[in-house]
């Protein structure tokens, strides 16, 4: 742990704390003794080979996956079986998926207002104003009345980001947000994410976009076989990887 991280871990400034978290799928041990502390405003990129448990780990943070042992504390709320805690965490944590998962039967605007209206109990008009605000921010306000099927992949992913932001989350999780996109669409989504990062949003991002990691991340976490192998500031991580496994991974993804 670097000194910079230690300084960040002042009580009250911690956004997410994961302690000794383990998860099994049947006999398969997916996550082993995960320890991770994320400070408020910190931007973390999680990378690693496929099947290393990176998606599973961030999905545990908003309880889309259940962990079997250890603690996860999000914004002071511990994730247990208590539905109230789960609701509280989910309303604080936004999530963007690889396949966007927009609701195809609702317009872009309705996609963005559904949760604010039914979960936050915000008046429809106000919810629509908020939605338009964030749609403008992701630069697609003119598509508000279309259906998701009428938009390109990049536009859909930006809508998904806007939909999450409409709940005014304090933490955003990104699960390979650009993996299903064409190269030119990747850029428009990454630009949106960089903008978000610059505003000080706490972000955990599973991605293979190393350029993004170098540009915005405070820390890069490398996972392999369900364990956190190495974590470091991006500069050191890329220039001076500690473990053999990290070196091999970096040589493979940066090699071409």
């Amino acid at each position: 742990m670097t000194t910079a991280q230690k300084q960040l871990q002042i009580p009250g400034e911690i956004a997410i704390e994961i302690r000794k978290m383990n998860k099994w799928y049947g006999q398969f041990h997916v996550l082993r003794d995960i320890d991770l502390t994320v400070a408020r405003g910190e931007r973390i990129v999680i990378c690693g080979p496929s099947g290393s448990g990176k998606s599973t780990m961030i999905r545990c943070i908003n309880r889309l996956e259940e962990h079997q042992s250890g603690d996860i504390i999000v914004d002071g709320t511990e994730l247990t079986n208590d539905l109230k805690n789960i609701d509280k965490v989910r309303s604080e944590v936004g999530m963007v998926f690889q396949h966007f998962n927009l609701f195809p039967h609702l317009t872009i605007l309705e996609n963005c207002t559904l949760a604010p209206i039914w979960v936050r109990k915000i008046p429809k008009k106000q919810a629509e104003e908020t939605a338009m605000h964030f749609l403008t921010k992701v630069k697609i306000p003119d598509q508000a009345l279309k259906y998701p099927g009428q938009l390109s992949g990049g536009q859909q992913q930006r809508v998904a980001i806007a939909r999450s932001l409409c709940m005014r989350p304090r933490i955003m999780l990104f699960d390979e947000p650009t993996s299903a996109l064409d190269p030119e669409m990747i850029k428009e989504v990454l630009d949106t994410m960089i903008e978000l990062a610059e505003e000080g949003m706490t972000m955990l991002c599973v991605t293979h976009e190393m350029g993004f990691a170098q540009a915005v991340a405070n820390r890069v976490v490398f996972m392999d076989q369900g364990q956190i192998v190495e974590q470091n500031a991006p500069k050191e991580f890329f220039s001076n990887p500690q473990s053999e496994r990290t070196k091999l991974f970096l040589s493979q993804i940066l090699g071409h």
Partner: protein, 529 residues
């Protein structure tokens, strides 16, 4: 270019006869015209053949028989009918009988099908397997067998009406019992508790079931609610258990009697008793249910020999007005939610609007129920051979309805399951990540999308059920097939007319059902592009 592809080029080259086959613009039309000519020729040949054959037999096509006296009885009729009525009226009776089974069958099959389909997706291993077994049993055995089996089971296992009668012997035993009771000292609460048969096997099994149900209720509620509410929920089965134990497992409602004493007295109740607060009697002849009677009916009239009851019309009108009023309440609630964000609680207003006017009307009309019963003489002994009063529902109807509903529900269950599973997991995950609870997710995200997958095959199932009512002939249920296609056909010998008319009627019913469902489908279908 060999083939002209635009109008300009075609006009340049002029029209050649070979273009009818080789030009893509004309080819489709040529083929359709040829097919149409062949089809018309075929129909013409068939019609000609039929007319020639009928001629040779000295027959014509004539629907006049519909106005001739039918001369046969129909056990169950919705509107008045006697054997003096015409064949035409018998056809209407049959049609109504078909529609009644189809209507209630579709509703019942949908309700059971949706429940089974959703439960089959349950995470609970036992429940999902039980539902799988249900589906596989019902859809893999022919419908005709289910109808026959249901009919046999309900008519063979039920007691004869005589078993419900109070005989002089029963009255004697009652008098004897009263004497003993007076000596033993009442049948109060304590005598029931002391008489509880705690060592019997059924009691032991019931105890195990109680512990299982209460524990799982507690576990389930604890995962969602705080301990206090969870305990309350777990207490419900416990209370039910105590009530059941006191009523079912105490020896009887009378004080504890020694076996020898009890056997000396003989039965104090008839061999069979009525269900549901002593109002519904199941016998081997049929199901006797209470009939609604009005003290102050509004009268009625006849339109084209079909009776019209003003009281029924008034009830229907009140229901429609209530539903419309309730809709405006819901609309107001929606508007309030849009402007303020919070949705007012409307369920009790809805309940009031939906039921209060109806209840008031029924009270004004003086509704009471005529319970089926045996007439009794001065001493209290039952007279006669069957129940008087109430409505007797034929077992053929009940069996057909139950078998059709259960059979079709198995298919509907699979359709519902497929519809829900067709929605990707990502949808419910995205909804969960936004903080929507599972119930809301189902209502706002999953069902609107699943419905568009469910409805088209559901239409086919409704049509299947409606047409399968014609299997009622197996249990002599006189529906359209039984009257028009059965007795009327046999008596008049007008096969062609009867079959044509029957096909026409079934076709009309099916088209009405499918057009109605299609309208519903286009209302819920996904608007995309």
């Amino acid at each position: 270019m060999a083939f002209a592809t635009s109008r300009a080029e075609a006009s340049k080259g002029g029209f050649r006869l070979s273009m009818l086959i080789y030009d893509t613009r004309f080819r489709a039309i040529t083929l359709q015209v040829v097919a149409l000519i062949l089809f018309l020729l075929f129909i013409g040949w068939l019609t000609d053949n039929v007319i020639r054959n009928l001629d040779a037999k000295g027959k014509d096509i004539n629907f006049g028989f519909l106005w001739v006296r039918a001369g046969y009885d129909i056990e169950q009729t919705l509107i008045p009918y006697t054997n003096d009525s015409s064949h035409g009226r018998a056809v209407i009776i049959g049609l109504l009988n078909t529609l009644v089974v189809a209507f209630f069958g579709c509703i019942l099959a949908t309700v059971i099908g949706v429940i089974v389909g959703v439960l089959r997706l349950s995470n609970n291993w036992l429940i999902s397997r039980l539902m799988t077994i249900y589906v596989e049993i019902f859809r893999n055995v022919p419908l005709l067998l289910w109808i026959l089996l249901t009919f046999v089971v309900i008519s063979e296992t039920m007691p004869a009406p005589a078993a419900f009668k109070i005989t002089p012997a029963i009255l004697e035993s009652r008098a004897a019992l009263e004497g003993i009771e007076a000596q033993a000292g009442g049948n109060g609460f304590w005598s029931r508790i002391t008489g509880l048969q705690t060592l019997s096997l059924p009691f032991f099994l019931w105890l195990l079931a109680l512990i299982g149900i209460s524990a799982s209720a507690w576990q389930y509620a604890r995962s969602r609610l705080d301990a206090g509410k969870a305990a309350l929920i777990a207490a419900i089965p416990a209370v039910l258990w105590i009530v059941a134990a006191l009523t079912v497992f105490s020896p009887s409602l009378s004080p504890v009697l020694a076996d020898s004493e009890a056997s000396a007295i003989g039965p104090t109740e008839p061999a069979a008793s009525k269900f549901f607060f002593d109002s519904i009697a199941l016998t081997n002849r049929g199901t006797n249910v209470p009939a609604p009677l009005l003290d102050r009916p509004l009268g009625g009239t006849e339109i084209v020999s079909v009776p019209v009851n003003y009281s029924v019309l008034a009830v229907i009108a009140v229901i429609i007005v209530s539903v419309l009023a309730n809709r405006s309440v819901i609309r107001r609630a929606n508007k309030l939610q849009e402007t303020t964000g919070t949705r007012p609680t409307t369920w009790w207003i809805s309940l009031l609007i939906l039921f209060l006017p109806l209840i008031l009307l029924l009270v004004a009309l003086g509704l009471h129920w005529e319970v089926p019963a045996f007439p009794v003489n001065d001493e209290g002994v039952s007279q006669g051979f069957n129940f008087r009063g109430g409505i007797q529902v034929m077992h053929s109807f009940t069996a057909l309805l139950i078998a059709l509903s259960l059979y079709t529900s198995a298919f509907i269950a699979e359709i519902v399951r497929a519809g829900i599973q067709a929605i990707s997991r990502g949808q419910s995950e995205a909804a969960a990540a936004l903080g929507l609870r599972p119930g809301r997710t189902m209502k706002l995200v999953i069902l609107p999308q699943a419905l568009r997958v469910i409805i088209p095959p559901l239409i086919s199932q409704y049509l299947n059920l409606t047409k399968n009512t014609s299997l009622g002939i197996a249990v002599s249920y006189l529906d359209l097939r039984g009257t028009l296609g059965g007795i009327t056909l046999n008596q008049t010998g007008r096969e062609l007319e009867c079959m044509l008319l029957m096909m026409l009627i079934y076709l009309t019913i099916s088209l009405i059902i499918s057009s109605g469902m299609n309208a519903f489908n286009s209302a819920v279908k996904l608007k995309e592009r």
